[in-house]
Symmetry: C2
Subunit: 407 residues, 2 copies
């Protein structure tokens, strides 16, 4: 365990009953866990939630790297939801929970008899949260969805790609984690309210709907132009004037590019100094964004001629230090190996039974340090602890439940 994180207790005492799987739900409850909530995953005794095994893990591990990433700092209990006694157990847990959350396929939680009306009757103060692909009332509310379906239907793909090319799926799993973050904010708002009012809430978010929140820059572009927002390659959807975008660097590998954005006059002047072209400062043929738009190829070529002779790190260092917004395109390996991320606790190493795993932590620092990561739980690792503490079930009775296949 690195010493670069700090255990947070912001949500100490908050109990989250977590019936989520894969990423949209788990990313949400993990954020709550990092803030100090007690998050208890309820999993199928036969293999657990599918995220444990749908991806690759380290040799000898029952669980995937994916599961490690989205389930740190949580607890795991097993409950067989196909058994009446298992369902009764979940209802008992729900009575003790502050938050219950699920992201099953549409209609599944209701068919299990664990829908909102049932749970609210048992625990009127509960915050009951649901994540689906499409919203209740949408023409597609019964449809299945994954991250990429949400990104297709939510507009993010339509604004990603080259202007004359097909739509491209943004690499980030915005449909999943992006949605999970909006639900986490809503749960936290409802928890704050509940402390004053005792009032529970039903919260619902759809992955398609959540995508609109992240492309508001495109909606303003549409409002300004009267046309659907375009794809602009490496430039912003607002179509910044040159130089703006990525420029090729030595030695020419797939991610050997540097982003440069010099729209403002002072940034343009500073960039000209870096390029050794002080002669152009004040030249009306280049001085304004509009003037440069008429010379896009020429301006970009001038910048690229300089960047091609540097590697991306040098280019970023020199241009950035001159006061011009610039950034090297970094790949996941370069990020993983950048010492600053480890020193600052943005990457932390957790000790799983199969060995250490270095992964991104919650990137917000609290009084200087991000929350400390602890490993994702093994399947059913906290059966004894949670059933005893939440429900007062004895060790002997827990053993009985296990023998009978209830947990």
């Amino acid at each position: 365990m690195d010493g670069n994180g700090v255990p947070l207790r912001c949500l100490a005492g908050i109990r989250v009953l977590d019936l989520t799987q894969f990423e949209a739900g788990p990313s949400c409850t993990e954020a709550l866990a990092w803030l100090g909530a007690e998050v208890v995953k309820v999993e199928n005794p036969q293999g657990g939630e599918p995220g444990r095994t749908a991806f690759v893990g380290p040799p000898g591990s029952p669980d995937s790297y994916y599961f490690f990433e989205f389930n740190a700092n949580k607890k795991s209990v097993t409950v067989n939801l196909k058994s009446e006694r298992g369902l009764a157990l979940v209802k008992e847990l729900a009575k003790k929970a502050d938050v219950m959350i699920e992201n099953m396929a549409p209609g599944t939680i209701e068919r299990l008899g664990l829908g909102y009306d049932v749970i609210r009757a048992l625990n009127p103060g509960i915050i009951y949260a649901q994540v689906k692909g499409f919203g209740e009332g949408s023409p597609y509310e019964h449809n299945l969805a994954f991250d990429m379906i949400a990104q297709a239907c939510g507009g993010t793909m339509s604004i990603t790609g080259e202007p004359d090319g097909p739509p491209i799926k943004p690499g980030p799993s915005l449909g999943d984690t992006g949605t999970g973050m909006l639900m986490a904010i809503s749960i936290l708002g409802a928890l704050y309210e509940r402390r004053a009012t005792g009032q529970g809430r039903r919260l619902q978010v759809a992955m398609q709907d959540a995508m609109l929140h992240y492309i508001r820059i495109a909606f303003q572009q549409q409002a300004a132009t009267g046309k659907a927002a375009p794809r602009n390659g490496s430039r912003s959807v607002t179509g910044s004037p040159p130089p703006a975008g990525i420029f090729p660097c030595a030695p020419g590998g797939p991610n050997d590019w540097v982003y440069i954005f010099a729209r403002q006059k002072d940034h343009w002047h500073r960039l000209l100094k870096v390029l050794g072209r002080e002669d152009l400062i004040g030249n009306p043929d280049y001085e304004t964004p509009e003037a440069r738009r008429g010379r896009t190829e020429e301006v970009n070529a001038m910048v690229a001629e300089w960047t091609r002779r540097r590697d991306k790190h040098e280019a970023m260092r020199v241009i950035g230090a001159a006061g011009v917004p610039a950034g090297a395109v970094l790949d996941t390996m370069e990020l993983m190996n950048e010492p600053s991320f480890t020193e600052r606790g943005i990457l932390q190493t957790v000790q799983h039974p199969t060995g250490p795993f270095k992964m991104p932590a919650w990137p917000v620092r609290f009084d200087g340090k991000p929350p400390l990561l602890t490993p994702a739980p093994l399947l059913g690792q906290h059966n004894e602890e949670v059933f005893a503490q939440w429900l007062g079930i004895s060790a002997a009775d827990i053993a009985g439940l296990r023998r009978e296949g209830v947990i």
Copy 2:
């Protein structure tokens, strides 16, 4: 005003002193405003925060559509931070605030004499939040950044694009709004804690660091393969087997595509029925993802032959109803004109002085409805109200401050 939103009071009584600009900061404080916090923007009397005017707005409006989108439900006061009396006024406001937040260029807030140590001494219980491009302790902590710089340096570009093409900037402004959401979660956690402990917090997030949170799917891919995560066009970074990705639809416009993802056996079988190729069900040459990988072109051509003869809406309807994850690629105009978003309050219309503006609302529904949007404030619209209510300044004194250029 549509009747499809509900005013929320989850954070009633919470005062947020908001010195942010553009998007990363404003998206964060807007989320708090939608939850019912009193968010007061502190703006330059000369033109306000740059987001008001850096983009296009409706005819006759002093403010841009961009500003409308990121500043709904907030209040605005003007304070001249170049005046000693203006700075003193901000300190008085800080004494009354629960949260103070800024996203100025590195070092600026400290040079103004409004840094963390100063403010904490005035108000030990304050939650003091800062959003920067690069983290304190990073080699680039003094560098300027915008959304696209964060996306270059944070890995999101490296995993977006065609496999043999250059990196592409994801269209969503993840560097801005994506970061803002993580800070909102952290502020809410600190507020919850503070209610129990009275303890303030210093919160810091860097846009580069925040990007790692949204590409964890790529980090697991790297862990699994030992190589930097690749670009995979419209497929996930995990490189799903065919059919997975976008397929062309009639009439062939730039966004006439449908996403289809049929990795699971039951999804593949259902898709074969839709295509009228029941004969292939159970055929070992196509039955497993591995078998189909060896026939990627053939499988994709089979699907495209069907999709090309439908428009994307029909394709999504038919394939989705068959129980296969599928989604039409929708552009911003199609989303804006989809009635379901308006009926469900995901899009709401706010009445600005220059007329109505329809925009995305907070997409999470609370007991069935999203928070009700109210218009972004005019510059200084709430001077009288806020200076009177927070500081007890009389109307006559406020008039004097205005005459003297302090506000």
